[in-house]
């Protein structure tokens, strides 16, 4: 098989040899003849088709005002979810509107207006409206002993409209608050699994509508190199959330706390990374936390040994550790362990009856982003494969 490159090289060599034969009597004349010959064969210095495609793709990602394709982002358990969006930047404002539809029939429509660079990049304001319809969200029951085989599905529709303000006085510290109106309604689930109304211990007030005012306050110290990829630094964050139900039935609070720390060793040949995560709720007597808003354990970010929503209860604890090594600049590998539990009482968040999984991970990354992560975990319910983007923690 003769490649075109080989042929081209032969032609170049042949041409450079052939031109002198035309009768030049000096090296200067020979070189001039080669240049004169090329002058008769000029062609435009245009981009190849591949270059043009790449230019389009890069513009698609970086252009602040464009129609764009999107994938995912509807709700955990949605599966492959392509969508279309349009973003536009004008002055300090960034508008974004889009929708997506998953192969499992999940639907999303959302619009936002952000002001990410106010007050010299120290103030960010975002307003957002988001509608989501999930058709087959998993439910295995409440508690740390729920059975994988007991899975049923439920449908969930939500409409949220709100605003969020974040202040970043220094690059490593953020504080902010948000408020939103959140309407949620559950219904019978679709898919191959039974619907939730068949579950032996039905959650209370099934298939009812909740109309929340969701308030939150959060603060974080974040000295990682970036939130998308880092080999050093830490994140220490806490957020307080209040869900106030207009019908005074589903009132509760939730606190989310997370600690992450990455320790580079031997000039970043190895990185030891740790995470502790706590989600705990508070509810007054007579009030109910909707089952679909109970903290959960499972999934590519919240315990890789289990599927999304595998465990849920009023309190969740997750501890993770990773031994990462770096075979090349764009590839990280990791051995990891995730262990955690859910509990009805906060005092039960101890180190007994932990759900533990071990695994290995492959991560393709850039300096500040991780577009592809493959984590394979083995827990007491078998092997789970997570192919996703973004960091585990």
């Amino acid at each position: 098989m003769i490649s075109h490159r080989t042929i081209s090289a032969v032609f170049v060599a042949a041409t450079l040899l052939a031109i002198p034969a035309a009768g030049q009597d000096s090296r200067a004349a020979e070189l001039a003849a080669q240049q004169a010959d090329k002058a008769t064969k000029l062609r435009p210095n245009t981009e190849s088709g591949t270059e043009k495609a790449l230019e389009w793709f890069e513009g698609h990602i970086t252009d602040p005002s464009t129609l764009y394709l999107r994938f995912g982002g509807i709700y955990p358990s949605a599966g492959f979810a392509p969508g279309l969006g349009y973003r536009h930047a004008a002055g300090h404002a960034r508008f974004d509107v889009g929708g997506a539809y998953s192969l499992r029939g999940y639907k999303l429509g959302e619009a936002s207006v952000k002001f990410p660079e106010l007050a010299g990049d120290k103030l960010e304001i975002e307003t957002r409206v988001r509608w989501m319809d999930a058709t087959q969200v998993p439910f295995h029951g409440v508690g740390n002993t729920s059975s994988k085989d007991a899975r049923v599905n439920y449908g969930l529709e939500s409409l949220e409209a709100g605003a969020l303000v974040a202040v970043e006085p220094v690059p490593w510290y953020q504080i902010g608050a948000g408020i939103a109106r959140l309407n949620m309604k559950d219904r019978a689930g679709l898919g191959t699994r039974p619907s939730i109304e068949t579950f032996p211990s039905r959650p209370p007030l099934l298939f009812s509508e909740a109309r929340f005012t969701h308030s939150q306050v959060f603060t974080a110290i974040d000295w990682r190199e970036s939130s998308g990829y880092s080999r050093r630094g830490g994140l220490y964050s806490i957020a307080w959330n209040d869900f106030k139900d207009a019908d005074d039935v589903f009132n509760f609070q939730r606190i989310d706390a997370e600690i992450q720390q990455a320790l580079p060793l031997l000039k970043e040949h190895w990185v030891l990374a740790f995470r502790g995560l706590l989600r705990t709720t508070e509810v007054k007597d007579g009030q109910i936390i909707p089952y679909y808003l109970l903290p959960t354990l499972g999934g590519a970010r919240f315990h890789r040994g289990y599927s999304d929503f595998r465990f849920q209860d009023r309190h969740v604890m997750l501890l993770s550790a990773e031994y990462r090594w770096i075979p090349s600049r764009v590839l990280d590998m990791a051995f990891f362990v995730d262990t955690g539990k859910v509990a009805a009482e906060r005092r039960d968040l101890d180190l007994e009856n932990l759900k533990t999984a071990y695994g290995i991970g492959f991560r393709i990354h850039g300096p500040t982003f991780t577009p592809l992560r493959l984590d394979v975990a083995r827990g007491d319910e078998g092997i789970r494969v997570h192919l996703t983007g973004g960091i585990a923690f």
Partner: protein, 562 residues
């Protein structure tokens, strides 16, 4: 377009047949073509064609780097002799390269330190911003100084004061002395109150377009720059190179719209040899977009001049932070080493992880420890570097070795490091890396240089490795003599090869004496520092009047395969 259509129509078999026929015709006719012309060796390649039709063309970074990382673009023959050289194995002056550090006369320390400079930096007074650059790795401004000259202004990252700016200026001086066209770069001091915003100053807007630059933009750009204690900013001021920019050059193929660009770039010795210079200065970012072609007027004709630009990511600097520990040792994706890293579960620890870097914030990660020149690598494979043969790296190594310690210290001093110890570390490291280059690349090919034949038939030459002190003299040299027929390329032995213990030899009897006759000598060393020294270099002399002139030299005849 027509070219593409033709390629599509004609089968590969037909094309190869046509090429073979062309070579046969060439070979037949070349019987009438002398090996050496009267003007050999040429000292300068003149661009004879008008290049005013050359149009600007950018290079897509992802495309260029991807095909270099995952493919091997360019001539599949990886052992082709460089094609931009003259008949004595040297690179003539051209719009690519100018012989300086080894040229018609020795450079002085002052000339190395002066580099391409025509001024001392932007003229003092008000600097008027004509545009801002808020994106990219290193934000900055374009300004007009008080004299109306245009300069690009860039800053150091806040945590790494002097690192990128110092590297940019010092390495610019080195690359200028090495022979490249480079911009005029200066360390300068900027005060906010001396900045004015031009009426037409623009900056990229968040909507993808442009908008008028305002004071807030200037303040925002300055916030991410390292500030001095007195409130000023140390900046790199880079003067716009002469001519109209038409985009970067690739390290492969030729520019199809430039009639004077006839040598595939991967076969340009000055680009192959750049591998050595890049290794010396840790220029891991030697990629297409760090070059710039401009249209200049030369002898009343518009031609393309080829520049190297942007040296902020050299020495220990990666522009916005110190360079990664693996840089210079690995490509960003490096086949076997990556697999070794994966399967060893991290227990395979490359040696560079044990390099002990001194704690200089103005230096970053720059060391001669574990510097192994042949195994040095840029971030992404470079097609010209890949095709560098021992004769190319030897040519480049001679230039690196031509820098004296004083020259290197003078070049580094232009980086104006406030910490004398940091400046000394950089200079000491460059000196140590220079010597490592000499040990590697002056010794892995027959290092005979400067052959000369006087009227009496006395042959002299030198051994570059011995002269540089990186190898011991060989046990002896063997010289074979030939008559050379310039019309046919045929050779006839003259006497028996002679042996000598030093770099000299006497011609045997029977040397031609007629004006215009040619004689060839082949010189090899026995008992040398490297087996390659036993492969003879080939020098050809023409009788000119009373003496002999060197007109031909090949360090690797037949590609070194003997």
């Amino acid at each position: 377009m027509r070219h593409t259509q033709t390629k599509a129509r004609v089968s590969a078999r037909h094309l190869l047949s046509a090429a073979a026929a062309l070579i046969i015709v060439t070979a037949t006719v070349s019987g009438q073509r002398p090996t050496f012309y009267n003007d050999d060796p040429v000292a300068r390649v003149v661009d004879t064609q008008d290049a005013s039709k050359v149009q600007p063309k950018s290079v897509n970074l992802v495309y260029d780097e991807s095909r270099n990382l995952f493919g091997n673009p360019g001539d599949p023959n990886m052992n082709r002799r460089a094609m931009s050289i003259n008949t004595i194995d040297e690179v003539p002056d051209s719009n690519w390269f100018t012989n300086r550090i080894i040229g018609t006369r020795p450079m002085t320390v002052e000339e190395v330190a002066k580099g391409p400079d025509t001024a001392t930096g932007p003229a003092p007074g008000k600097w008027t911003i004509t545009s801002g650059k808020s994106d990219g790795v290193t934000p900055g401004f374009t300004i007009l100084d008080a004299k109306g000259d245009r300069w690009f202004i860039k800053f150091d990252p806040p945590k790494w004061r002097e690192m990128a700016t110092g590297a940019e200026v010092a390495v610019t001086k080195l690359f200028h002395a090495l022979g490249y066209y480079v911009p005029e770069n200066h360390i300068a001091s900027l005060r906010r109150e001396n900045l004015a915003i031009g009426e037409r100053a623009r900056i990229a807007a968040v909507d993808g377009g442009e908008r008028r630059l305002n004071d807030a933009d200037v303040d925002r750009l300055l916030r991410i720059a390292a500030q001095e204690a007195d409130g000023s900013y140390r900046v790199i001021a880079s003067k716009a190179v002469s001519g109209r920019p038409v985009g970067p050059f690739l390290y492969v193929d030729t520019r199809p719209d430039d009639p004077n660009d006839v040598v595939p770039h991967e076969h340009r010795r000055e680009l192959r040899g750049l591998r050595v210079f890049a290794a010396w200065t840790n220029h891991v970012d030697s990629k297409a977009i760090n070059s710039l072609d401009t249209l200049v007027t030369e002898n009343g004709r518009t031609v393309v001049r080829h520049h190297l630009i942007d040296f902020g990511s050299t020495l220990g600097s990666a522009s916005i932070k110190p360079r990664e520990y693996d840089e210079g040792h690995h490509y960003i994706a490096d086949g076997g080493k990556t697999i070794a890293g994966i399967v060893s579960l991290g227990l395979y620890i490359p040696s560079f992880h044990f390099v002990d870097y001194p704690n200089f914030h103005s230096v970053g990660h720059f060391s001669a420890e574990h510097f192994d020149p042949p195994n040095w690598k840029p971030r992404v494979p470079n097609p010209a570097f890949r095709r560098a043969r021992p004769d190319d790296t030897f040519w480049a190594a001679r230039r690196v070795m031509a820098f004296t310690d004083e020259m290197i210290r003078a070049a580094v001093k232009t980086g104006r490091y406030s910490d004398a110890a940091a400046e000394k570390h950089i200079a000491d490291t460059l000196i140590a890396r220079r010597d490592a280059i000499g040990r590697s690349w002056l010794t892995n090919v027959n290092p005979v240089i400067d052959p000369a034949l006087d009227a009496s038939g006395a042959l002299t030459f030198r051994n570059a490795a011995v002269v540089a002190g990186v190898a011991k003299p060989p046990a002896s040299y063997e010289v074979a003599w030939f008559r050379f027929d310039n019309a046919t390329g045929g050779v006839t032995p003259i006497g028996q090869p002679t042996s000598a213990a030093r770099e000299a030899g006497a011609a045997p009897s029977g040397l031609p004496t007629a004006d215009g006759s040619f004689v060839r000598v082949e010189i090899k060393a026995t008992g040398g520092a490297d087996p390659s020294w036993a492969t003879p270099v080939r020098a050809t002399f023409r009788r000119t009047g009373p003496g002999w002139k060197l007109v031909g030299f090949e360090r690797l005849p037949d590609g070194g395969r003997r």
